[in-house]
């Protein structure tokens, strides 16, 4: 039994990502921070669906008396990963465009808009 350890690990990942988001100036590292938060949340979703000694939730493959893990969180996580792919691609595209204009990735130096 590992108890609540997976949930704690997910929360640690989320906090690590937030730390990177707030205190890293390199725009790529900001994106990486967001990805770490996202992975923490996705792992959390999968972990909520785990049933102790559960098997893959495919009805025809499972032995007659086995407990299956919950399929819904897995479907949700899959959707969330696809959405994450789209947001990450868009953010990285913006980073590339910003670098092309400003020749730097330092979040403090690229700022034209403030106040």
């Amino acid at each position: 039994m590992i108890g609540n350890v997976p949930f704690v690990v997910c929360m640690v990942l989320v906090l690590l990502g937030l730390w990177a988001l707030l205190f890293r100036r390199n725009l790529f590292k900001v994106v990486i921070g967001i990805k770490i938060i996202e992975n923490g949340v996705n792992l959390y979703l999968v972990a909520t669906g785990y049933v102790h000694k559960g098997v893959v939730p495919i009805y025809t493959y499972a032995p007659p008396d086995a407990a299956m893990v919950l399929p819904t969180p897995q479907a949700l996580t899959l959707t969330s990963i696809v959405i994450g792919l789209a947001t990450t691609a868009l953010m990285l595209a913006f980073v590339v465009v910003i670098h092309r204009h400003k020749r730097t990735l330092d979040g403090r130096k690229v700022t034209e808009l403030s106040g």
Partner: protein
Amino acid sequence: MNLTAHAPILAIAVPLLGAFALPLWAKLHRSLRGGWLVLVAGATAALTALVAVQVYTVGVQVYTLGAAWPRDTLTPGGFPIRIVLTVDALSAFMGLITALVAMVGFAYAWRYLAEDEGKTLALTLGTLLWAGMLGMAFTGDLFNLFVFLEVTSIAACGLVGYRTWASRGPEAAFKTMVMYTVGGLFVLLAVALLYGEYGALNLAYLARQITGSLIDRIALALLLGGLLMKAGAVPLHMWAPDAYGEAPAQAVILLVANTQISLYALFRVLFTLYGGVADPGVGWLVVALGTLTLLVAALMAVVQLDLGRLVAFGAVSQIGYMLLGVGVGLTAVAARPAYGLVAIQGGIFHMLNDAVAIGLLFLAVGAVEKASGHRNLAHLGGLGHDLRWTTGFFLLGALALAGIPPLNGFASKLMIYQSSFLLSPILSALAILASILLLAVFVKAFQGAFLGPRLTAAEPVPVPMLVAMGVLALGVLALGLFPELVVRHLVAPAADALWTGRDLYLQAVLGR
């Protein structure tokens, strides 16, 4: 096929598929693209109106995807397992706002966007954003709320940053995207927490099960933070002035509607999902954030020199009024004094008024930029000589937003002042102070840009842009002159959906 029963899902599916088909038509011929857009936008607006008529005359509409018939929400075990769309009066009201804003925006974009500057792209993303907003308004389960939230995020940031040849747009878009994505992940984490506790995603089912435990409170905090990030409330507003300042004008009014939809989602969470365990402390938190938003944004508007950013801070401060109105209602929802309902009505009515008035202002700023080539108040002057109509529209929008009596902003702000006065006189004093500040800001901007000797040469504004602004200007006048009619027939049912409609919402999905 029974069109009325399937209208809620069609209102989302038509713009979603229509948006992706738009670039294909544009490849064939430009006029085909125009025709397709008119067709898609017209059909979506008609479907939204059909849903709204059904909701206002019959009651809450439920649509179950993949069921034998649309109202079959439950499995034999009495558990809502499928994806359910639930449209009550407030959802329908938000749908109508998005339809109005999108139609006006597309009419404006016809001549505003240059063909070689990604017009097809902007129209596609605009339609996609509309689909996402309708999805957020109509969805009946929390996970789809997240999915549509991300659809609006991606489309909105695309609209802010698609002009990659300029450096400011992508910078604003990156900032916005970071805020939107983190907000979306907060919402997803909250959904995961609630799923882990109750094993369900359906909003009505969760609302019935919720107990107000520590996990529920953490989820509420995450939902509040995530959705306020998306709505651009102070202190999470940093993205809003940048995005409003750098996006093309027809996209800005869609972004404004998008912040309102995020507020709608927040109200849905606060009143419907957590309505059974309502805590006045949360209401006071919303009131405090609303007051902070309207004051800070009005103060920030004072120091702006860029006309676009100035109006943008005005737009952020209006979010504060909506939060204040509905927050006052939330503090009172348990004891149900009469002023709580008036406050909610004021907050919801202000959404419509804000969409019309701030939309008019942003379109006027876009017209100024197109006609004269820049937006900085230091360079602008005497535009009133050449742009007569635009001058009038800007003045009308500015006065309406500052809450001057015969115009629409006054009608809803008065309801908010009156009801927040009964909760605490300080709140209404601060709200009035912010309005006076906004009036000063807009008078300064109007005087600087439009009055005085002719400093800037200006080309005439194309007629479709004037027509789009004229529609919103008529809205400003009509909503200001006949607020009673609108409040009674449109706003009151939407406010009742939050105030007493929770049980009807739950019954419509769960059947008991």
